[in-house]
Symmetry: C2
Subunit: 224 residues, 2 copies
């Protein structure tokens, strides 16, 4: 048996931990699918490529403390992480911008699981409007106010070209979408009561080049 | 004048800072394009949605200390971040899997700037092989060993369906690609000398639902 049965309830979880929880969740889901019923912090650490002590600390924020010698109950831990991430809720999503990226998002597993569901797609291109992506018909951007008023999405995803990203965001905000997830390579501004998060597809590439560039140097710890 | 002229050289920069540097870089690039020659840590903080003290701390790792009352020299700071991130290097990239996501990546600004350049694209679908994406002809996956041996890419990007992601990764590793950037929703294993970073397109969505789920609760700090 793993965990001490305490549920996640209004605990303060550091953002660095929040960002790692989906990573653990994916690993645990794969282990559960492979019928592995318990997992050690060490195994989880190797697969997630973080330290085992960090794994234990992260999971302790959920009230989950593995049993020495046995580890964590895989299925229980998946459920605890789902609960912590709000994945037992219902999170309707609209996606604006149905180019290659918007299509990839509309079809991605991550946007149709853990409580998320794509409810509407919008584009301005007449060649795209009316086509079906991931089982959903693409609507014209001019229909956004009416559709959003009816669907009341939790998240508006901006996957447009950079040049129109702010305009699209303004339309989402004006129609009371509370959270914006921005994939466009543009710095957006939103009112302070709107949640805005940005995804930079190249950010991990840049982090990677940072480490490679450093491994190519052999300079000592540098004073100014 | 901003900064004290010391260059980034083998300093230890915390990973949390490394991940924020591309964010600052994008903001600074937009400010520079708009002819704003100096920027305060407060303005940068608002646009990046982090605290001003954190901005100053992050930039101090680059040896950049803004001038009181004036702030940072925008263009100089862009150059310092580029240098820190290795963006003055040359980072050839190959992308495997030219579906919607692979196309989006091949066409994205982030994969063709700051020292990165896409040099080859691979797919297994006969309908895709031979087509041109972002000015580059898509090659058959069977050509990967020969092409990689000649191009010696710094990074192999995996944008395939989950089911073949490990197989494709093995092929990249077998052909001496030193770093793998994985977009497939699958936990990959690589030898310890290979750098592996994973991008989960839904991770920010999950972080967002975490905060929304929490704001919907009003429970106090929870004891176990």
């Amino acid at each position: 048996m793993a965990g001490e049965g305490s549920e996640f309830r209004g605990r303060r979880i550091p953002e660095a931990t929040v960002v790692r929880l989906p990573v653990y969740q994916r690993i645990l889901s794969e282990l559960a699918a492979a019928d592995q019923r318990t997992v050690s912090s060490e195994q989880l650490a190797v697969l997630a490529r973080v330290g085992a002590a960090k794994v234990r600390k992260d999971l302790s924020h959920l009230g989950s403390f593995g049993t020495r010698g046995t580890g964590y109950d895989t299925a229980l831990l998946v459920a605890q992480i789902d609960r912590a991430l709000g994945a037992d809720g219902d999170w309707p999503i609209v996606i604006v911008g149905i180019g290659n990226l918007g299509r990839a998002l509309a079809n991605s597993e991550g946007f149709s699981s853990h409580g998320f569901r794509v409810t509407a797609l919008f584009d301005a291109d007449p060649a795209v409007v009316g086509t079906t992506v991931g089982g959903i018909a693409v609507r014209h951007i001019e229909e956004l106010p009416a559709v959003v008023a009816a669907a009341r999405p939790a998240v508006g995803v901006v996957a447009t070209p950079a040049g129109v990203a702010q305009e699209v965001t303004d339309a989402l905000v004006a129609n009371a979408v509370p959270s914006i997830l921005n994939f466009a390579p543009r710095v957006l501004t939103v009112p302070s009561n709107v949640v805005l998060r940005n995804v930079d597809l190249s950010i991990e590439l840049q982090v990677m080049s940072f480490y490679q560039a450093r491994s190519g140097t052999n300079s000592a710890e540098g004073p100014a």
